[in-house]
């Protein structure tokens, strides 16, 4: 099965009823599956911050939503993620494309891991790194931002990571993010950056 198939089947198994978010080329096939399935509803948003608030409302209304956005959209969503989903204690599963991770790793930047057994040391995220044209600063800031915001996350390596992220959200009663690092062949994001 493809990554999309694995995640979609996992969402069905977990009882997800609604998807909310904004697509990119990596998540578009998954969103199409959600949109086409009779047991699920897809709600597109105009900006990612809406997704975390709508999903929180869906949860308060008794449904089981998933948020699907890109990592740059998570950075945009700070106040909604903080003030609504986190502040209400919503156990919210979020699937987030990890745009720019491959280039970031190729350039030699390794985020300090927090939720994996990987114990490689982190580096200093200084101005030179943030301004490098060959590295997407969205990728550089994704994991440090989630760590600062106290949002637990995992990086997708196998279908079990979806369940592990679900468990993080349920056990910690807060949003938890599954970062999708793998690119679809030829995938490009909405702003033209490669994945």
């Amino acid at each position: 099965m493809s990554q999309t198939d694995d995640i979609f089947e996992g969402l069905l198994r977990l009882g997800v009823t609604h998807g909310v978010g904004l697509p990119d080329s990596v998540t578009a096939p998954l969103i199409a599956r959600i949109d086409e399935h009779p047991a699920m509803t897809w709600t597109p948003v105009t900006r990612e911050g809406e997704a975390f608030s709508i999903a929180s409302g869906l949860w308060v209304g008794g449904k089981t939503p998933v948020v699907i956005v890109q990592n740059t959209g998570v950075l945009e969503s700070g106040d909604s993620l903080r003030g609504v989903a986190l502040r209400m204690g919503v156990p919210l599963l979020c699937i987030v494309t990890y745009r720019g991770r491959a280039k970031m790793l190729a350039a030699g930047w390794t985020p300090t891991p927090t939720t994996h057994s990987d114990t490689r040391p982190g580096q200093t995220l200084d101005r030179d790194w943030l301004l490098r044209p060959d590295v997407d600063s969205t990728a550089l800031l994704t994991e440090p931002t989630l760590q600062a915001w106290k949002v637990p996350y995992r990086i997708y390596e196998s279908p079990q990571d979806l369940d592990a992220t679900w468990d993080l959200a349920q056990n910690q009663v807060r949003p938890a993010i599954l970062l999708l690092p793998k690119a679809a062949p030829g995938a490009v994001s909405a702003n033209g950056s490669d994945q």
């Binding site: 909310v20 608030s53 709508i54 409302g57 869906l58 949860w59 308060v60 008794g62 909604s80 502040r87």
Partner: protein, 195 residues
């Protein structure tokens, strides 16, 4: 129109609808109503009341959801008008209480207050119904239709700026729904909707 007169009209017509309040409406509504389906979007994220309330409406399509949003709050997420229209949430009534100011932070003027037209914005975003009222009696007369006809419906209430101060969630607040945390409020509403 005085804000309280409009809220009193809404309170007279309200039955089993969810009412989500924001900003300068939170306290006045809390003085009028202690309904279990009242929810104060206070101590939350700025500009994310309408999208949160939309989530409840999508989760509970058989129940009408009324969002009492501020004008400044609406301006922070104007894209939500498009999201609401796109979602075709027929059970959603979005009331924008337009006093032309950020009232609870000291009545600083909102941008373009003299030219701003929320009804025009809603219609251009795809709302099938959008109405404006400058008179509480006219609003009162229209409320039966507003709360029964298919939406989504946007209502702009043009009210006087008053002097409602900053909102807290403490035992000192007179409104019971402000005497508990946002998390507790979310769980109470979730339980009430499940019941």
């Amino acid at each position: 129109m005085k804000k309280l007169a409009a809220l009193e009209a809404l309170q007279r017509h309200r039955t089993d609808q969810v009412v989500v309040t924001s900003m300068s409406v939170v306290r006045p509504w809390g003085r009028l109503s202690t309904h279990p389906l009242d929810f104060a979007s206070a101590d939350s994220a700025m500009g994310h009341t309408a999208d949160f309330a939309l989530g409840i409406a999508l989760a509970q399509p058989e129940r009408r959801v009324i969002c009492l949003n501020g004008d400044g709050s609406m301006l922070m997420t104007l894209g939500t008008l498009v999201t609401v229209a796109s979602a075709r949430a027929e059970n959603f009534v979005l009331i924008v209480v337009n006093n032309g100011t950020y009232e609870i932070t000291g009545n600083q003027q909102i941008p373009a207050r003299e030219r701003l037209d929320f009804v025009g914005l809603a219609r251009a975003s795809g709302f099938p119904r959008a109405l404006a009222f400058e008179d509480a009696e006219a609003f009162d007369s229209a409320l039966a239709d507003i709360l029964s006809e298919p939406g989504p419906t946007l209502v702009e209430l043009r009210v006087d700026a008053e002097d409602e101060g900053p909102i807290s969630r403490t035992s000192g607040e007179p409104a019971p729904y402000l005497q508990i945390s946002l998390e507790a409020s979310a769980r109470l509403l979730r339980e009430a909707l499940a019941g």
